[in-house]
């Protein structure tokens, strides 16, 4: 017995068909709700910056950056559909989140230790430029 494969047929494609309406995701009401949250968060950041002064600026900085992380999470989860596509994309997103945190941690010593200060806390300035003769 012999089997004869057809001489010409298209190579099987491993690309999925493009998305259709069944992949529409959240409703427009959800999108509007997320937009409202983002707008409120932006206003909150702005107001915190205006209200907190003096020694409270570090608390303000913490609140503002936390609000930024919350906003970015909402945009990623709902607008970028990560909440619905997480099982398909976690292998890409998770490592890059780890790398981002690692990169910022690696920079911490340089951000905290200032090599241009002497032990007394005085700034070590470079000497004035040489005057041309």
């Amino acid at each position: 017995m012999t089997s004869q494969a057809s001489a010409s047929f298209p190579a099987p494609s491993n690309d999925l068909p493009p998305p259709s309406a069944s992949h529409a995701g959240p409703t427009s009401a959800t999108y509007l709700g997320v937009f409202a949250v983002l707008a409120v968060c932006t206003l909150l950041s702005f107001l915190v910056n205006m209200v907190f002064h003096g020694e409270w600026i570090y608390v303000a900085a913490g609140i503002i950056l936390l609000v930024a992380v919350v906003k970015a999470t909402f945009v990623a989860m709902y607008f970028m559909h990560l909440k619905f596509d997480w099982s398909r994309l976690y292998f890409l997103v998770f490592p890059v989140l780890i790398l981002v945190v690692m990169m910022l941690l690696v920079f911490l010593p340089d951000a905290v230790v200032n090599p241009h200060r002497d032990p007394a806390g005085q700034v070590l300035r470079p000497p004035p430029l040489e005057q041309p003769q």
Binding site: Q4, P18, Y31, V75, A111, V112, N114, V123
Partner: protein
């Protein structure tokens, strides 16, 4: 005898990711861009926190012409554009082509508005001389001489400019006379411009002079005077690099939306472009996320 014919598989292979190629490729691209901006932002954090001192703090927003509410407005504009692009995708997914086109047009308009506001902000920096390498920081030797020469030039122009009030021109004239007579050191000139209350410790001169600087009075009348901004050049480098690269990314996104609108004008846009709209939207949301972090880091914190 029987012949077994291998039928070609016309459906997607069960191997591989449950994700179409375009989406996978775009997410790969986005994570590389995340690392790109992480490098820039990480560098900014190191430079900002690791270099300045209590006597030479990092410039405050008003010292370099940053207006917080303008940045907040731009953030709101980008958030609105993220909403419109996701509504465009939603409409197209439900085969409502015309609303989708309108939402894309709105996204393009909002993105363009963001760039216009950015252009005005850049112009303000250019007008105030806040550019990398243009902000005076060292007042010793030749640098001090150059600084005083710049001040003299600006004061001479100010004194003859009828747009300013006569009181301001008189006061500027007094300082100009002292500068021409070389009666003041570069640090003293800077202190007269910035004011005794606002001059940073490293540039303070204990010569008994106290008062409001000329700079505030000039700025109240819409002008500018060159003065020392500690770490101003570093600030300008960071600001223009980060916001410049972000603006280029915004421009790239706007090009894609413009292409979609051209397709729509030619009558060729339809539900078959759902993937294109989804991918353009993903890219646009990423651009929005970058600004969500840039705005507080540059304008607020």
């Amino acid at each position: 005898m029987s012949h077994a014919v291998v039928e070609p598989r016309m459906t997607a292979s069960p191997m591989g990711l449950p994700l179409y190629n375009g989406k996978l490729a775009l997410w790969f691209f986005l994570i590389t861009e995340v690392m790109f901006f992480t490098g820039l932002i990480g560098t900014y954090i190191v430079l900002r926190n690791g270099t300045p001192t209590p006597s030479d703090p990092w410039p405050k927003p008003h010292e370099v012409g940053l207006i917080e509410w303008v940045g907040a407005f731009n953030t709101f504009v980008l958030i609105c554009s993220s909403l419109t692009v996701v509504l465009a995708h939603h409409a197209l997914a439900h085969e409502r082509v015309r609303p989708a086109v309108l939402y894309i047009a709105l996204t393009l308009a909002l993105g363009s508005l963001f760039l216009v506001v950015k252009a005005f902000e850049y112009k303000a920096k250019f007008d105030h001389g806040v550019l990398p390498g243009h902000v005076p920081e060292r007042l010793e030797g030749q640098e001090g001489i150059r600084f005083v020469a710049r001040v003299q030039e600006e004061l001479e122009a100010l004194v003859q400019d009828s747009r300013y009030s006569s009181e301001l021109r008189q006061e500027a004239g007094k300082l100009l006379a002292q500068v021409k007579a070389q009666a003041l050191s570069p640090k003293q000139v800077n202190q007269r411009i910035v004011g005794s209350e606002h001059v940073s410790k490293a540039y303070r001169v204990a010569d008994g002079w106290e008062g409001e600087g000329l700079l505030e009075k000039v700025e109240r009348e819409g002008g500018h005077l060159v003065h020392v901004i500690p770490y101003g050049n570093l600030w300008a480098s960071c600001y223009f690099t980060m916001t410049g690269f972000h603006a280029l990314h915004v421009l790239g996104g706007l090009v894609v939306f413009a292409l979609i609108l051209i397709l729509a004008l030619l009558g060729r846009f339809g539900t078959q472009h759902l993937a294109m709209v989804e991918l353009a939207g993903l890219y646009w949301h990423f651009v929005d996320i970058v600004w969500i972090f840039l705005f507080p880091l540059l304008y607020l914190v």
